[in-house]
């Protein structure tokens, strides 16, 4: 349907698209491939990027193991307090992430009860990999849990019922029917969560300035040496994020077609 409003509205909208696209393009274009390669070869930069990937992947695995069963319950069962639980999952998205970092520090820090318990086992959160992982987990688990819940919700419960009447236990019906059919949604949740974890700065920087993840490294270089030093790292991180983002779009497009 053609509409005379489309053209003026598109012109207004173009300003917004420019606002998002141009700074990103500008950053990517400002560094030569050679410089990017050199930057990547710097041990500090390479380590930071690998650490970011690994920590976010670890957070995603934790959310997968703990969050997918939860998502299944939320999709299938009705119980008092369900709305509250769903709100709790979404909460980290609205809390400022630096505040989330403070909150985590209070529980998992050296003076927190959980922090002390883990310290007894030799696990330290402050200024350590586990701290980065829980910070990322905290701020990004909603993406995975919500995607998985929507995935399970889209699976007809009668399919599992039929599987039960054909001899499957609930555990088997979950693995053979519910999970394969919700898998695309879960996968797109995994990628979304992982990407969100990669980009986390606020919560991570409070729990662990060191070892340095990529966003913290950008911040530090900018603070200490200025724009010219921060930019190549920023460019690398943006390129990697774009790659992850397109991967996500590709997977979820496949999901809708399926």
């Amino acid at each position: 349907m053609s509409n005379r409003l489309y053209v003026p509205f598109a012109v207004v909208g173009a300003a917004l698209i420019w606002f998002v696209g141009w700074p990103l393009l500008r950053t990517v274009g400002a560094s030569s491939p050679r410089l990017l390669w050199q930057t990547l070869a710097e041990p500090q930069v390479g380590d930071a990027i690998l650490l970011t990937f690994a920590a976010s992947a670890a957070a995603t695995v934790v959310a997968l193991v703990l969050g997918v069963p939860l998502a299944y319950v939320l999709a299938r069962a009705d119980f008092p307090g369900k709305a509250l639980i769903e709100a709790v999952i979404d909460l980290p998205v609205v809390v400022p992430h630096s505040a989330a970092g403070i909150a985590l520090l209070m529980v998992f820090g050296r003076s927190g009860a959980v922090g002390r318990a883990f310290a007894a086992l030799g696990v330290r959160f402050v200024s350590a990999l586990p701290g980065i992982v829980i910070a990322m987990l905290f701020v990004s688990l909603a993406f995975l849990v919500n995607a998985a819940r929507d995935g399970f919700r889209s699976v007809d419960p009668r399919l599992e019922a039929v599987a039960r009447t054909l001899g499957a236990t609930p555990w088997e019906a979950f693995w053979q029917v519910a999970l394969p059919l919700a898998w695309r949604n879960i996968l797109s949740g995994v990628i979304m969560m992982w990407a969100r974890g990669l980009s986390e700065f606020g919560a991570v920087v409070i729990l662990a300035y060191h070892p340095m993840v990529a966003p913290v490294l950008i911040f530090e270089r900018f603070e200490s040496y200025g724009l010219a030093y921060a930019r190549p790292v920023a460019t690398l991180v943006i390129l990697i994020s774009l790659f992850v983002f397109f991967l996500l779009r590709w997977v979820s497009r496949d999901a809708t077609r399926h």
């Binding site: 039929v162 009447t165 054909l166 001899g167 499957a168 029917v177």
Partner: protein
Amino acid sequence: MPHATNAGALRLEEVRLRLGAFQVQSLSLEVAGGEYFVLLGPTGAGKTVLLETIAGLHRPESGRIWLDEEEITRWPPERRGIGVVYQDDALFPQWTVAENVAFGLAMQARSPWQRAFPWLGGRARRAAARGEAVREMLRLLRIEHLAHRTPAHLSGGEQQRVALARALVVRPRVLLLDEPLSALDPQRREDLRQELRRLHQQLGTTVIHVTHDFEEAVALGQRIAVLRQGQIEQVGTPEAVFRHPATPFVAEFVGTRNIFPAWAEPREDGLAVLRLQGLTVVAPTPLRGPVHVAVRPEDIVLSRVALASSLRNTFAGQVIALEPRGALTYVTVAVPTPQAAALPFVAAVTARALDDLVLQPGEQVFLGFKASGVHVF
């Protein structure tokens, strides 16, 4: 009931259940082994919930469920051996037809190891899908050629056949059918109805079939239970239910109908001769053998004198009852037959026609209806 085998007898004793806003107060029901039993009721009467309770998918609040002298009230569905076929769209969409049918067999054959780690089950299922048992069941349902398709590429009728094959391949003790024909167009519905009758005769499985369609109930059911808001209003043979409705609700739901068992013999001209206790009725149908004949009361014409020959089916009878209902009066006419009892036909007559006829109970009257006004099923 007719079947010699007694396996698959099901008994519900004062079953009480609650699911959301829906409630069943206290329901008792007995289905004989090998019987084709129909649960008939309007939408919202709780038929699906009742079926799912029998299958073990809901736990009743109180009461007991027995299967062949074993109490199964607290058994999980996977232990009961009770199969379910839903109205539509309940095939496993990620698997082929053969794998759908093989699922139950793979479940029966699995090891404790596979039970604990179900993600290993794919190979066993695919192996079972190539097996003879699956092929035989597909052949029985006449869907061999669909074995390698996925459910998205099947018509509604084909999907229902696959669902039946999937449920039957494990030889269930009881087969539950939840409105299995409702999503189909009339032609497919008739085909599958015959298929259900044939399968039941061939396999002798106890069937509990849920429907809101009275004709379907009469065509298939050896006995019918009429359900209303989770309560059973009447249980009996199809004849008993429509001939002697126990409650006003049953009478209303079943409607005032002329439904008679008959024997059909097709003729050359597309019409068939139907014998109703020795009376001969002509109607268009390709069916042969035992059928049911239905004539709407509105399609029956009454007259004091012999009727014009344009009506294929005319009979003489005696008025036995007049029942005014709104704008119409329902006149029951007993038509004597060569065999024992007279057949009661009900005709709906407008007030004006009634004035012209001046009918009284006990009077002789002629009734007639067109061949096209006879519904055979």
